[in-house]
Point group: D3
């Protein structure tokens, strides 16, 4: 039995509210259960220096957690003087994931920065960031297309992400914090429809078999299908 009473293959309720800040070209507040992430997409007309003259665009991401988004207050990274290893790892993952779903030629020589700031955390913040980040990105790209700055749609099927893991020996979908902190094996699956973008499976202090991996992958496919529908509904 899961602490939340959910079925093994049941996602938490997902809501995606768009247009939540007046300044960003694209924005949403994604809620996956009690995990709440504010995602904004900011357009810059210039690409990063290494792309100048290539005709290619760039999408990058930054990630942060408010100090009291968690059960006990964390030190503010701006005060600590640097981003921690976990933060760096996550924002690199978000950036890579979103770029995999972008036609960078169609985007043209500009940069879009997706900021994912966790207002409240309850497990799965990196997955919520990718899923919500794609919505913010989609809205920003829509604005570019409406303004005629981008002619060909550079985005396709939504990029979505979900975690799965072995909790109390059972394969479960969309781990919340109580599950995540106990899970022997957990994985993050970034997909675009039925195609995979990133698979990160990890066993903290344990190992897993190929069969277990297959099972979790199956759960992920179910979760991503639901997330994808929510993303499309939000940007409709």
């Amino acid at each position: 039995m899961r602490p939340s009473g959910r079925a093994l293959d049941e996602m938490r309720p997902v809501s995606i509210e768009t247009g939540v800040t007046k300044h960003a070209e694209g924005s949403c507040l994604i809620r996956v259960g009690d995990t709440h992430v504010l995602c904004t997409a900011s357009i810059e007309d210039r690409p990063p220096p290494f792309l100048k003259g290539t005709g290619l665009g760039w999408v990058t991401a930054e990630y942060g957690m408010l100090p009291r988004s968690t059960g006990s207050r964390m030190r503010r990274e701006a005060t600590a003087g640097k981003q921690g290893g976990r933060t760096v790892e996550i924002q690199r993952l978000i950036g890579r994931s979103l770029r995999a779903g972008v036609d960078r030629v169609a985007l043209g020589e500009r940069q879009i920065t997706v900021d994912c700031d966790v207002l409240q955390a309850d497990g799965g913040t990196r997955c919520a960031s990718i899923t919500g980040g794609w919505v913010a990105l989609r809205l920003a790209v829509n604005a570019l297309m409406k303004a005629g700055d981008v002619r060909t749609n550079p985005l396709g099927v939504p990029v979505s992400a979900v975690s799965c893991g072995l909790y109390a020996g059972q394969p479960v979908l969309d781990l919340d914090y109580p599950e995540d902190s106990e899970a022997g094996v957990d994985g993050n699956f970034v997909m675009s429809g039925e195609r995979m973008i990133e698979v990160q499976m990890s066993a903290e202090g344990a190992t897993f078999s190929r069969t277990e991996m297959e099972t979790l992958l199956g759960l992920a496919e179910k979760g991503v299908a639901e997330l994808s529908a929510a993303q499309l509904a939000a940007v409709a």
Copy 2:
């Protein structure tokens, strides 16, 4: 005429939503017009080292802006590797202001950290942070009192803050960003009812007379009375 069409002595609409995050001992989302600040108060059972054994409590504050809380994206301070001068100045002001309204003996040997994170900025973020910060602090202290950890109420009249300035030659209350960026003289007034805690008046590239100062002070008194009522309503 003010860009917003407000009367010279008219505040923007103020709303204070409490209990907005499930983890913090006290929290609120304060909206002063389009300026939105998420305030949380986190209790630590131990005081900072310099107060150990004194019987005194401590209240401190940290301030941050989400990268796209502003019209154009700002660099994330965690990435830059340090908090900027303006950030440091503001969070020191918030901390001093809130401490002025606390009976540190009654609070006892513990520390409360108030985090003020700007989700959307449109001028007056430091004032909104102090005003909302007091609400978060009040709620956290209520929890301590309810649990019997604090016996005597350490908080009195709300601590509130508002900005006033000379805009297009006219004294105006509660400057929004378009006014703030044009104002020759502006001031931040932190008050607790009719008593003053901090007055910071500044003339970027200009000077002002004693009479002008008096006029702005009068406006501030009006604004603080309204904010104070909103704070009390929120924590009722």
Copy 3:
């Protein structure tokens, strides 16, 4: 009674020695009682990047304390790896204050950096820095005018600063360290003659009334008049 035996409205002795370093375009050693600050003004022919092509000049300031300028040795900020919050706050105040007294069109596209380094501290170092900083700035500008690089005098009435506060319940002018560390309320007043540039009043752990504020303001006006005379004498 004040620890120093001074009258309530009595400044400490002020001396301003100019030309104290052979390299700087303008320099002075200001002594306000036992507070000694070495101020230098350094001219750069180029303005900061954000002013390029605007025809406007810039004045900025940096502040530091020698490690043993204080009663017990402080950690050197260069060793600590960053300037502390108080330092940043003070140097921003010095810069803003001096700029308020400069005609930036007349100064032309160049930058003057005023360094204020405290050799010995006994309260009021930020005020002494502003007062002495103006003298260094005036001397540097004189050099520019003499050389024909600046035609119209960009400086007017001296910018001066003094602190006032409530000590043992009495309003006092020009707090020294023993007073400053005990004062419930204290304020820093930056003025240019009878016009005000910055007012910063603060009550560490206390509040003050509007009447008290008025009284301190009156004391500040007396102090600034005396400082202004000393500044003019020094640069004559």
Copy 4:
């Protein structure tokens, strides 16, 4: 055809030379083709603070590249003032991977730090670091057991890692740099015998199917079997 002329499922030659530094409790120089990594294991008698009194041991890892281990010189991270995101990500992976193969109760309250420093890079440095890191760890643990400080063997089947990817549309084992820089999809597989510890598959700017993932996994199993044999031979 692969640039190196290797068969699709052919590893580069692997050599593991042990005892290469006289100070470390365990050490080896692992060469996987032209990728050369110096691995040392350093024992500290005290565990990290968060494990004090738990009876559990800890294994952690750090990773670095010599500035000219690469085709063009990279900036030294000590000079840059921080470890880059890629470095942090890799050393966290190495640490997690090695810990998965350790019985932390049997290890007892001590810490072993595995340093992996790349002397020459030609692709696959993180995999070589894990594989060589396990050898250094094994040797250090052997020393502890020989000295009687550890009674029960805390290590089991070797932890080994290999990369696989799609190069020019073909699934290949053990990518070298020319392949790695062109591969659309690549994955790192950390295994302990037939059990998996970490799977990290990534498609820079592309996607992959579940079938492709299965194929790469099969290649990885072949590579890990060979690496495991080399590790056992080295520590025999």
Copy 5:
């Protein structure tokens, strides 16, 4: 001919003014020509952690230059976020040099920090810092002895330092900045009477013979004798 008109073996005028700050246990302002360094010695009752329980004392030093102590303004190290390589090198030299002249058993378990801050630079600041630093140290130790905290005099013959070099092919004593910036070979000689503590000879882009080294050493002995007399006179 030297730019200053001095004889080849002629020092610049040396003056040492003691008791220049009211807070430090020992202090002096040393002037060697136009090089002016403020030296303070600060006593801490506790030794550094690595000496706890050894009965030994410690002397350490820090060095800094005011931003406009030089011909063109240097960036403030506190702003840059770290001490430069030259600064670190110099303060390590000052610390080692002063420690060589201290009986650390007689000093007892305490630490004295000598701060050397250059107010005006004209070559030879590290030598002036050592020479003046010893005077500040001597005065601080005198205070400890007078208070009965130290019984046996831990200091002997003054530690003094002077630079010599080859300027325009001639061996010269006590290089000023115009000479220093042109000298092919220069050396810093730290001595205690006739005994040597540190010799640092360096040829930027050149080499020197053993004979030239001997000649410079002879000049240094002359300079140190004069400095030593000035130090003893200052502390008498």
Copy 6:
């Protein structure tokens, strides 16, 4: 008697293996007894900014120690966030020493960076770095000459370095770690044949006489002659 059983004027065995990394333009692994340093020379076609347009080249150096190159593991400088004072001092010495042996006009407008990374330390790492660094530099310059990019040989007699000191009252050549950690006086001598480049003699907590200095200098001359021969043999 020396701990190693060597004669007072006997060097440790020296070996210099060249071409040890496939990427660097010049490289060697120098072993002086148990001190092993990997030296690489990397050519950049552009000089540092301050030399642009002067026709002069530049040689600079960086130094590092692997964390477990020493008896107990040292903290990695990249993790600590900065290079320590000792590291900075050493790499500045290596750079200055190598530049003294370079005709910068003949080298032309380019920069060569020599990286010296200590794989295993047993005393004398800075001297081994200079000696091995020259070999790497020589090989890189040979490549430039072979390619016709440099016409006139910019290097002459090898730059070599050795340490000497007073150990147990006796003058000894080439101190190993057990000697170095006990020596009252030690010196580093950088020479080019019979000419001197740098002399750094230091007495940690002690002093030395002119006669002792002369004796050590004699030993150094013997050591440098042997090193020079080894360097020439290696690059032959």
